[in-house]
Amino acid sequence: MTVPACTKCKKLGEATTAVGRYDILDRVELDTDVAVVIGPGTVDTGPDGPAEKAKLFGLRANQIVAYPIVHLRGALTTEQIRTLADALLIEPVTQWWMLRDEHTPPSGHGRVAVIETGLRPGVTDRQAAELLRAAAELGIPLEAAAFGTRWLVYGFLGEGDNVRIAERVLHNPVIERWADDKLIPAFTDRQAESPPTRTIPLGGHDQAGLEAISAERRLGLTGEEMAAIQKWYASEGRDPTDAELEMLAQTWSEHCSHKTFRAMISTPDGEIDGLLDTYLRGATETINAPWVASAFVDNAGIVNFDARLDLALKAETHNHPSALEPFGGANTGVGGVVRDILGVSAKPVAITDILCFGPENLPIDKLPPGVLHPRRIRAGVIAGIGDYGNKIGVPNLGGAILHDVSYTTTPLVFAGCVGVLPSGSNPTEPRPGDFIVTLGGAVGRDGVGGATFSSQSMGTETAAVAGSSVQIGDPVVEKGLIDLVVAARDAGLYTAITDCGAGGLSSAVGEMAEDLGADVDLAKVPRKYPGLAPWEVWLSEAQERMVLAVPDPVPLLALAERWQVEATVIGWFTGEGRIVVRDGESTVIDLDATFLHKGRPRLHLQATPVAAARTPRSPKELVGTVVEPVDALRGLLAHPSLRSNEAVVRTYDHEVLGGTIIRPYDGVALDGPADGTVFVPPGAETAEPLRGAAIGIGSAILLGRHDCEAMAWAAIDEAIRNAVVAGADPDRLSLLDNFAWGNPRNPETLGRLVAACRGCHDAALAYRAPFVSGKDSLFNEFVGPDGTPDPVTPTLIITAVGIVADVEAIPAVGLMAPGNDIWLLGPAAGMLGGSHLDEITGGDRGGHLPGPDPEAVLRHREMHRAIRAGLVISAHDVSEGGLAAAAAEWAFAGRLGLALTVAEHHTAYELFGEGLGRYLVEVEPGRSDELMEIAPSATRIGWTTNDGRVRIGTELDISLDDIEVAFKSGPGNVVGRPAAAPEPPPVTDDGGDA
């Protein structure tokens, strides 16, 4: 190499410590590499930028400048380095490059500290991979590359502040390393030896000894489960290998086997024979809806869309990883749920996301050690969600951002996906002799142990020991998988398919081989780098992989080559009922498939009901006694869970695929909140009338603090209202459930879960809306340094997906014209217990909660019939913040005024009370009789105006401008945007007004 070596690079920053299992990943550190710095540096002064984050920690930097840095290895000439940099690393108009050794910090902003950050070895580095590929095309012998950042931190930093700023602001130890001044990239070693498979002696251990083995290997297995394993191996006359124990732990984990939801539960009212079977699947079986093609059996539920097409539905959680590495956690959360949809042979066509964060202005001294600040989590999660969906070309069609102090230590990320497939086109029966083919990327130590890790509680130590449990996505590979799987499905090339998610091949092959057994050779599995133990290859959660059962691999491999997706035959289904895994010559796993899948002892749990006694509250409560109505409304519109998230949604592509009909923000200026979203799936564009799918999402976390059964009813009702306003038929809905709960071994926590499941069951039956899939995420609690658990607030998210028979008939988002009548479906007053009014005025002040309302279903149907009859010009549901908040959002979305009266005197119950099955609709004045005929529960409560104000009786009067300021008070929103104007005249040279 003719470029002078960087002789100072031998000194690695002292704080660059390896984390967790990466300790065993060997690194080679050479001093013959060259580093290229790219300028001009960027300065991010925004709320999520490093300078603002540093302020959170009391570190005041004058300016923080970031320069990309690229480490190159290879026998490169100066000319080759110049070619690489000019052609591939910089933009000719805006950028320059120089060797790092020549890069001296510009002066002018005070003292400067130089810090470099880079990815840990083995973390997905798409930039480096593409640089290598492109360099090869240019004929440049580049051997390895690594991307990182060189930070110049200006300011009068105190002693040790550079370390604090590096550790807390500039890098995340889960995926990155840092060094004071110059970082030596950690390329993976090409020569590392694989550790052999080891045998773990179980014989002779008592329960405590078995529990110790489970704890030491972080298996997450109970003493009873370990004893069952010990007994089975005694009958086999041997001890388990490490690979077998890891496979059992993965298969029996909460994440993969849902053991809490399948447990026998004792309550004071009797035994519950499994929450899943009794309540969720139980409701679905009772309803027996003809449109449900598949529920609770595969990766996703499948429902009929029309006579030719089905929809696949799934919603997932990705909480623990997002807490540690927000971008990667959310990123792979989207990737995972998209593969669930691919795993039933469907093309992903819509993504949803519900995100739950702690308070954004949480003082640093309230932040427990080992926990990232909510702002950092929020910024990373949002970026991760957007990055993945945008890059695979699937529109993001709906979601919410909820805030609660309990989400500080346990942030929640729910990612959902809808797919489309020709009816009956998902093959699910592998046959003996079929080959096992993996599609997608190579494996590394990514997420090894993720399934067991996400089934355990988090603590201060978690960030340090669980490093390798977090993964980084590579959406480009996933996009290739989507194209390939759809093409392979249409060509009929496979007999079964599943995704490689938590638990990796162990889970995917294990489940596919449950009836047949399989024989796999790990030596065939492509690896990112050598040195992996066989069990790590088997359990690796490397992203973007699918597993197929294939009668004839030849055409599939040819198709994979065409789509530039790696495809590998790794074994076959034997039909002999044993799961045999080899690593070349040696057998590392030989398990009976029946024991693996049926051998886990069933859990028996205790649940204690949590009484929901409510203190009485004045039935005539006037808002003015606590807060003026207009101030209450401003506070509600600005509440972090209600306010506009438009600036967030704008970073997600909601237009790609060209099928979007109703957007998350719609209305006259595309900044009004839509209740539900609607899209036309690809392949359905030519139908007459045009048919669509509607997505509605519901939650009620404030009720969950008091009564989880009421929460379940309210969440389901909200999801249904949102879908119905978007045109969906309430008698043709399918539901997804997502639970995020604390530790269910606590009988009260389990009691709340039982109540929520019972509410789900009863509401589903009342609404005739079956669950088709779901996902529970348990053990969402943070154990602080003193051992006190801090559980997440019980959180139930419901997604309702419905069919819109004619997308032309969907009501507008936002008021359309002055002088129209406004009608209310449902009661004039709501409840104040668990209300958002209480939330913004200092907490619970008693009163009834909005309870189960079996009559609400009648109003959903009335609403739908009115829409189908063409009576509903625009509509909005009455939800968080009650009538006043709904009226304000709706008026703002259409930039028109409202004059409403629902009572002689409007109390807090009328203005801000919350309840089930309530809608506001805009109807032409001449059509009252038609509406009353169709919707007997409707009451005319006022009219639309063009005076730019929302008035409710004499008690509330607010301008649209004030509404906008409050509603858009969140970060990044644009206030004062003009509404869309009618079509302008043609712009021609010969007179514009022609």
């Binding site: 640089l131 480009v476 909601h654 237009e655 060209g658 302008p984 712009v987």
Partner: protein
């Protein structure tokens, strides 16, 4: 012309919006052929067997090393000869979003621009990171220009469609030269108002509000916004307010350019 022209739509790893682009061209009267890059590269399919080239949006190669750069490298390396032949045959070429980025990186846009000043280095351009540093998806209004180009010749009024990109800020070494050569095919703005200029009308901070440009022949058009997402009335969020601005005429113009040639 009685035969429908065929549009080649290459799909690189990470390309998306190819389906909508195909739908748009089919609605405009063309046939389409969506082909993975690997098949093109192996010579199974040839560009010159088609009449139009449409480079779709997305994130080719994950936008590693800069949006569109590696696809641009493909265009200037193994694809170069076919492109020379296509240009000799006066083939209309459109690059949308990532396709535009690739055409710029490949040096095909803004093409050969007469230099106004003394710089003499040729005019270069780039699509840099959005001014606000974020990916942005929103509907914009586009004022057509360069009406000597067959792509925009028939557009007598503004069109509306969404943008969806993180790197779309058009910058050039010589804005006045690009404007003097009448290469600006689309500007962000509000018709009737003074030029947009400010966020969010100009959503990414592009110099001169430039959303799209043509080369010196007018046959190569690149633009950041997605006209293929507003070809049918149902796609318009303002369909009930009758704002117009559908983008089908743009694709029809490209098809007509083949028929005329």
């Amino acid at each position: 012309m009685d035969r429908r022209p065929t549009v080649l739509i290459p799909i690189a790893p990470g390309t998306n919006r190819n389906e909508e682009l195909a739908l748009a061209f089919r609605a405009a009267g063309a046939d389409t052929n969506q082909v993975p890059l690997a098949a093109l590269r192996r010579g199974e399919v040839k560009l010159v067997d088609h009449q139009i080239l449409g480079l779709p949006g997305g994130f080719s190669y994950g936008d590693a090393l800069g949006a569109g750069r590696l696809l641009g490298l493909d265009l200037t390396s193994w694809f170069a000869e076919q492109l020379v032949e296509a240009r000799a045959r006066q083939m209309p070429i459109i690059g949308i979003c990532n396709g535009f980025q690739a055409l710029v990186r490949a040096g095909l846009l803004p093409g050969d621009v007469p230099v106004t000043g003394r710089r003499g280095q040729g005019v270069t351009a780039n699509l840099a990171e959005n001014e606000n540093g974020r990916f942005e998806c929103r509907w914009v209004e586009l004022l057509p220009g360069a009406t000597w180009s067959p792509w925009t010749a028939g557009l007598d009024r503004p069109i509306r469609c969404p943008i969806a990109h993180g790197e779309g800020r058009f910058v050039t070494s010589d804005l006045s030269a690009v404007e003097a050569a009448d290469r600006v095919a689309f500007r962000y703005g509000i018709a009737g108002a003074a030029a947009g200029g400010a966020y969010p009308d100009n959503p990414n901070g592009s110099a001169g509000d430039i959303a799209g440009v043509v080369d010196e022949t007018g046959l190569i058009l690149g633009l950041m916004p997605h006209p293929e997402d507003h070809v049918f009335e149902r796609q318009d969020p303002h369909r009930r307010r009758a704002l117009g601005g559908r983008c089908l005429p743009l694709f029809e113009a490209g098809v007509a350019a083949v028929a005329a040639g």
